[in-house]
Symmetry: C2
Subunit: 410 residues, 2 copies
């Protein structure tokens, strides 16, 4: 492991200084290679599928695992899309001349060696490899063991392209020891690894955050709220509430709890009830809510649950401050929305809520790197530091100061 | 502890939304209060001094510990200087309209609850309190136990000003349990604490980095190099080398190793020798260096040592690539300089060296928040993520996205 990490670290110098044109050419060559080898990838994937079936994986997990011709093409397309993104390395973020006449430039640079730990879907292997490559980082990938044959096949093809371009294969590599112990070792190697990105279940993320000596950018749970204020435009409110809950339910930026201003509860709750019932949403409500509409009771645990399903808590609150109080207690700092036409109420909410994304009159479902215009998405960070909210390739860079002098001494 | 941290967390909402004018007024009131209570502070400091003497603290440690009238005034001045810095909260870092017509603003916001762990000098207590306050953060301070009376006195005075302004005293507080166990507990409280900044010895920083589940921005060692290239202007080279080593030796941005291009070793080493001997510098050199000048041998351990003293290693290297190779192996990623008049050589060094600050034709001693123009300095981060290099109050903020819609759904 130590030997491998040393190679990864020294490779990071090489990829960090590769120019954009070469990186883009190689990304396209990788895309071509994936397509050219699609039957090999599908063959290897079948081994994972067979084992998955033998191990009684659920049909939804098996579907996530499956690679067919179309999905291999999608992986290649994704690499080509990454290749056309604006070069993330070498951006001048700030620049000024100080009192001594030193010209100071704050410049974006790759982070170095990035370890990404993820589950199931094998396309993550090529996506993350491509994002790290474009941003000048070495990627150490640790996928789920249920996708081991697929991941190996994909990595092998990408590494062959690296080799053809006289680059070290460590620039894109699978963690050699893919056991739990391998991960435990990896997250202690701050000498060689600069960032760990865990993507997966809450337990995995919790374990890594508490035990890593390498900085972690995590994608935790998304327990998102929408608050309908008494000054809301009801048409917008209804559309946004339905969209935030129902457009796609298994995602982190979907709404879990709807907060309704007490002043309008009487008027809007029955309408919301009808609209949600039509969408097949299971509704639970606080005591006050249940005075207006006949639904199950929502308890404290419900308000703390990220359903990832078509289930919604409704709570009646005392104005924007009641909404803020509830969100401070139960929110996960992911995405929170207010629906109102009142300027002061809107700004109060947007300023006091401490979340990566705070919305006025829009659905929380927009928290997404693609929607934000970042191109490809690394993930949605629930960290407060380094990267917060949707992460694009720019968030896979850090900075350094380049200082141009002319003989200055202190 | 849990109770205290809960209060700290809830106070963070209050300080985060306090407007700039109020914060500046209160910072000035704190400065006034420190001056008005200087005899009380000095009295309490004397208790620390007496204990320090009884415990045989070294005279340099006792000097760091001492507070007199002048030093209390300096603490107050520092708070007033912080008050005039540009408001760090609410800066629009980026802003754009996405394809859906959402107006997206990336806005600077306070980090939340910041724990700062430091040693000896009691003025750090008011400095850090002021910096955190200005940037809208709650500060949990844990100073050295040798300064306990002084720190308590300073915190008490600052808290009285908070109280007078109807603010919770938890906004600036000392860690209630200041034992090692208290620190061990604090760094596990990621539920309440958003950032830990350790300032102190290597062992302390190492312990905190490896055990904290809260993100850490650390100020590690500075093992800085200066490389004199064959195309260097010798006058600049001599002045910068002397300045980088001798202007102040006990600091992290001082040079520890001088690298000299083999092509000019013959010509420049005797001149450097004379100049450094005049400064009383103890010189150690590699084998090649010792062919030109008669000095002690520098071994591998020397090249790995941050002397913090007037001692210097000299090594002869093969051009800029030899310099880069040495720095990659021994550098701490703090500050590295090249002296050359050649454009391509300069850019090769500035781009390939992965350090927070890379200098062309200037002394590494410039790595400093004040010199950079940041006003007050929180520290010099050797982290790669969140903040790198000199940290001003802006680096005590993070960001969130404020998204203004008009009924958008996905």
């Amino acid at each position: 492991m130590e030997d491998f990490l040393q190679k990864a670290k020294s490779s990071s110098q090489i990829i960090a200084s590769l120019d954009g044109a070469s990186k883009n050419r190689i990304l396209n060559a990788m895309a071509d290679a994936l397509e050219a080898n699609s039957s090999y990838i599908i063959e290897e994937n079948q081994k994972d599928m067979q084992e998955g079936k033998a191990n009684n994986l659920s049909s939804s997990l098996l579907d996530r695992l499956l690679l067919d011709e179309k999905r291999v093409v999608a992986m290649a397309t994704s690499l080509r899309e990454i290749s056309v993104l604006k070069e993330p390395v070498g951006r001048i973020l700030e620049g000024w001349v100080n009192d001594n006449g030193l010209k100071i430039q704050k410049i974006s640079v790759p982070i170095g060696v990035v370890g990404v730990i993820y589950e199931s879907r094998p396309n993550v292997t090529s996506d993350v490899a491509g994002l790290c490559f474009k941003s000048g980082n070495v990627a150490i990938l640790k996928g789920g063991k249920e996708a081991e044959f697929s991941n190996r096949a994909i990595a092998k093809i990408l590494q062959e392209v690296l080799e053809k371009n006289a680059l070290p294969i460590e620039i894109i590599s699978l963690l050699p020891d893919s056991s739990r112990e391998g991960v435990a070792k990896l997250i202690k190697q701050d000498k060689y690894v600069d960032l760990i990105v865990p993507r997966g279940g809450e337990a995995l993320i919790r374990y890594i955050s508490s035990n890593s000596s390498v900085p972690v950018v995590k994608h935790d749970k998304g327990l998102c709220h929408t608050y309908i204020d008494k000054k809301a435009d009801f048409k917008k409110a209804m559309e946004i509430a339905i969209n935030a809950k129902c457009q796609r339910t298994g995602v982190c930026n979907a709404m879990e709890t709807l907060l309704v201003d007490r002043v309008i509860a009487n008027e809007i709750l029955p309408r919301l009830y009808n609209a949600f019932i039509e969408e097949g949403t299971e509704l639970k409500g606080c005591e006050l809510t249940r005075e207006y509409i006949e639904i199950d009771e929502a308890n404290d645990e419900d308000f703390n649950t990220e359903y990832l399903a078509n289930t919604l808590n409704i709570k009646v609150v005392e104005g924007v401050d009641g909404a803020i109080e509830h969100i401070v207690k139960y929110g996960s700092g992911h995405s929170e929305a207010i629906i109102t036409e009142d300027y002061n109420t809107a700004e109060r909410f947007l300023e006091l809520i401490d979340a990566s994304c705070v919305y006025l009159n829009a659905s929380t479902r927009f928290t997404d790197g693609g929607v934000f215009g970042f191109g490809a998405e690394v993930g949605i960070s629930t960290n407060k530091l380094h990267a917060r909210g949707p992460m694009g390739i720019n968030e896979l860079t850090t900075y350094k100061f380049k200082i141009y002098g002319n003989g200055q001494i202190r």
